[in-house]
Symmetry: C2
Subunit: 348 residues, 2 copies
């Protein structure tokens, strides 16, 4: 049916390019729309608090592989991933909708497991499941989540608000989810070749959990409140540190310096990356799916963050013309490049 129209390959554009391309004709007309497309969540004004909305689509064979992702974990992760976008606005998540499309290969008990995982996540984060849609699917499993939250207007952290001189900070540690995925992929291959061999994940709990059961950083948003820290710009690390840094810099019209030696990497991530012949720094920069929070704060808030165990200062914001650069452990300067995680390039 597309014979008579020109073809442009979506793959060439990449996900962000496609979104940019498709949404350029979008007009905002509602007075209640403060911020539409272009950040982790949309901001709506319903008097008093600002409401935050974010949505994600998770598709079998693209975002997950049912051969090694337990269904309960999948439901849990689908919610986490989406709540993470609300926290990345410095907001409080309050509700989600959860939709599933599933083929007849799934028995009821399987769908129940997915829901159970979703509800465990809801309970843990104090979020209400308020709606959704459930449908047959002609092919694979489809999950769509929309999360809703709120924040005081003055506290909302857009990705466009980084200022020259800001400290660049990140929560937790990076690269673990990606290295965990390598481990699961390896065990899947071994299992496919010989189903009698049990997966060997012993002692690797942390990184396997980083991949299968990531936790959105609600606690960091609470820490900000407790210590009266106001991040200028913030984004969650879903596509890898490099990609997220570039998002903040591009949106804010600034540059940055990132210190390789400061990037927080868990020892198990480091060690396992080495086992796979991977550079741990590259895993942190380009791996993605860590769902940590990357943010910038004014220098005068340095005293408030310097002793927080779960926050690391990894660099600082510069003027735009200085570019986005990483200073390596050996002192060399490299431009930061986004490899990110491109769903479109994963198609076979």
């Amino acid at each position: 049916m597309f014979d008579n129209i020109d073809r442009t390959d979506i793959e060439q554009l990449g996900e962000f390019g496609l979104i940019e391309y498709l949404t350029k004709a979008v007009e905002l007309t509602q007075p209640s729309t403060i911020k539409g497309i272009g950040d982790d969540a949309a901001v709506l004004d319903f008097s008093g608090q600002k409401m935050l909305v974010s949505t994600d689509l998770l598709l079998e064979g693209i975002h997950f592989d049912l051969r090694y992702v337990p269904l309960k974990h999948l439901g849990y992760k689908a919610v986490q991933v989406n709540l993470s976008d609300i926290y990345a606005m410095n907001g409080k998540a309050s509700q989600i909708t959860f939709s599933i499309g599933l083929s007849s290969k799934f028995p009821l008990e399987a769908v129940e497991e997915i829901y159970e995982g979703a509800l465990i996540a809801c309970k843990k984060y104090g979020v209400d499941l308020i709606g959704g849609d459930t449908s047959a699917s002609a092919q694979g499993l489809v999950i769509s989540v929309t999360s809703i939250g709120y924040a005081e207007e003055a506290k909302i952290a857009y990705r466009s608000a980084a200022q020259e001189g800001d400290l660049l900070c990140v929560s937790g540690d990076l690269g673990g989810a990606y290295v965990g995925l390598q481990l699961l992929e390896r065990e899947k291959q071994i299992f496919l070749e010989n189903p009698n061999i049990q997966p060997d994940l012993e002692g690797k709990d942390y990184i396997v959990e980083r991949q299968l059961k990531p936790d959105a950083r609600k606690d960091i948003v609470e820490l900000f409140e407790a210590y009266d820290i106001k991040p200028n710009a913030m984004i969650d690390v879903s596509d890898g540190l490099a990609s997220e840094i570039l998002h903040i810099c591009k949106a804010s019209g600034v540059g940055c310096k990132l210190y390789e030696e400061k990037i927080p990497i868990d020892p198990m991530t480091y060690e396992t990356a080495r086992e796979f012949g991977l550079d741990p720094t590259v895993c942190a920069l380009n791996g993605g799916e860590d769902y940590e929070l990357l943010f910038t704060i004014p220098q005068d808030q340095y005293d408030k963050v310097k002793n927080q165990l779960d926050i690391t200062i990894i660099g600082y914001i510069t003027e735009q013309n200085a570019g986005c650069e990483m200073i390596s452990k050996s002192g060399n300067v490299h431009p930061i490049k986004a490899q990110g995680w491109n769903a479109f390039s994963k198609e076979k």
Copy 2:
């Protein structure tokens, strides 16, 4: 991977049974959640106006067939279907999120067409597109829409608020979308057998459009406001009149009398149904996808609706023990049964 757990067939439950089953463990804990699962949209309290949220998943091969649904119409319809849920709460739609998952068989121009259709719908209804997700899909086309709206608390029409003695009313006419689908299916078969034969849809514009380009009844909600009509209960007709009536009666704990002769059916719908050997009343009762509004109003508002050209009084609400019954044209009494449109029974 499901070998070691008991199997229960989802098909046996049907869509509503599945939702009921899966959501029974859902707990609401947020003070801002006024109404979660169980109506056309969720109601949230963000001070002042109540916010309305609804979400839908549309899957290729289940909800649409790309062999006869033009992509622009698909984008348009995906938005309409979802906005319809906000209007069915007597609310005003204000924002949507629009997510697409698509396989590599789609060129950029195709995705653009879908978006274009969605944006035409947004423009027509004065709704902002505020977010979404775009992803590769390993299989078919996936569309997920979440719509957001608002209403004064006193005006919200839940499906559970029908009162004994209420008049049962419906907007527009029914059965057209279903008969239009039969027509498109027939032409598809002819085309598959001989691609040189052009589709013969001449003079059938109205019902083809009812199927491909339905319009959510924002105008009816505006009419309610203009004439100070407050429906007690309301629902949109997505699964067929019979199914929707039973939803209202079950949720409200009431019965009803429906008069077959009062059911509004367009002459073209009637005539074409006959051509296909179908009973036009059955098409209205069980066809679905009309996206008209079905609602109940107190008898003292009769004067306000009796002269509205686009509203038909089709029956009245009784006490629960009287059951849900249709009085046929010949005066026979039949219990109303939900055939509805069951996505799960459509799987092959």
